[in-house]
Amino acid sequence: MNTTQGVTVRVENCAKTFADGTRALDPVTLDVARGETLVFLGPSGCGKTTMLRIIAGLEKPDSGGRVLFNAQDVTRIPIERRNVGMVFQSYALFPNMNVAQNIAYSLALRGAGKAERDSRVAELVALTGIEGLENRNIDQLSGGQRQRVALARAVAMRPSVLLLDEPLTALDAALRERLRGELDRLLRTLGITTIYVTHDQSEAMTLGDRIVVMRKGAIAQVGSPRDIYFKPASRFVAEFIGAANIIDAVSDNGVLVLPGGRLAVDKTGHGQVAAMIRPESIGIISPEAAFLVGRVASVSFTGDRQRLVVDGASDKPLIVDASNTLAVKIGDTVGLTVAPSAIQFLQGA
């Protein structure tokens, strides 16, 4: 197998029913391009980890399901012969080995000599920024250092696919954010096909070339971070990713009819619709000039912006992200404006 750029991965009709009858995954078919980073995103219990474990070879799909690497069927091949690098949520570092031995274990298994192992370890500790820790025991490392060791260990044998199962979840928020950036650079440097599982949408947005949003064992939407954010396919995706206003209203020949006025939309015809508007897409203008007005119910100043909740404009209070310099206080009547292109209609209204 070509290992420098990774392989294409195809998951074909893979479902998973556990021995106790629990259906963890409905039949899923999915292609991952060579060198792509694909993120499985969803709440806990959505089947994303089961999906990853099927690709890894730690779980067998129900009969009829197939996993292909570079069009070669690997469904029956156990994980130890799939050449996949894996980073576990708990890292699974071996406590009986030091950092260098952990990183070099896969090379030792493949019969690499000491010189080769040492040079690869040196290369990887430099790449992951853990120089000087080679002879430390695992218990002497911080959480962030463990995470880097786990990553270095997983890529040491130049795997065909890199699989990461919530690799940042065990870390505190500040460290998570920093490592997210590092991980992104590292994955791009390696150029390896990567499959990443997380429940954290900002991780998914930063790292994913494409995101697979999952819900209750099925795929809710597949798309680029921008697609998922701006064009969610369903109410679930819209609400799961970022903050969203979902307006249930009647659309009448290019106009949404709302309690506080009306909004122009790119939609002809007449009928009940569900429209999604992101908080940052709503502009605040003077009420005299506006077709849609509401009353400010709360203002939270967060430094980079202020988040308003506006009552009376729609069927539900609207969340609006306004500029941090706008003079506005609770009880003010404000005019609201939204570009028609920023209004996304959801299916299954």
Binding site: M86, S90, L109, R110, A156
Partner: protein, 268 residues
Amino acid sequence: MTNLRNRLIFSGQFVFTLLVAAFLIVPALLSMLAGVTVNYFTGIRSGLTLQWVIQVWELYADTIARSFVIALAALAVTLVVGVPAAYALHVRGGRFARIVEEIITLPLAVPGLAIALALLLTYGGFSDFRRSWLFILAGHVVFTMPFMVRSVMAVFSAIDVKTLDEGAASLGASPWRRFRDVIVPNAKPGILAGSLMVVTLSLGEFNLTWMLHTPLTKTLPVGLADSYASMRLEVASAYTLVFFVMIIPLLVAMQIYADSCGRKTARR
């Protein structure tokens, strides 16, 4: 005032502890002393001698050796069978594993005599087996296996061995390499604790062994009972002395070794 009271309470507790310890230790010391007394009924005035110890050694050297062979053989079998069994039971999990674990543990609850009787009923007909020390070994393995399996399993559940195993597998390790490189080294504290139990229990085991032994396959405790029943009290006491001299250093050495490994693991 309170200071004095505290000191009184402390002294009281200290004396009480000493008394309890003495109550337990004095008989052992007296017994060992009797083993080197010329005539126990005359008392220590009759003088000290090593003749009884020498006599015991001459009579029972092979019994003592056999005991150690059986203990080490039991250790070998419980290691070779018990550690992989614990691994399999832990990784597999579920109801089946629980049932197997209960069955392995059963000999702890069933009296040794009953186990011996069952072994005799089943295998007594195979006379070569029945006459050899291997018959006793079989009994000891049945009796000591749960201690090995349980202490190894306890470590497995403490270190999340399943994820370590999956981690090693993802790096390309075959099941055997995973077991050798990752599972066993990380289960070492449990394996050591289990080994300590197996060796001590095997060396001191009487119930089962008494039923299973033949005049030619005695072990230390059976020999002890034998000498109590049929010889001078001084000889029997000398036997106790020999028993202690053989076992205490072994136990201390194993305990020290286990402690040093335990410390290393605790540091992690």
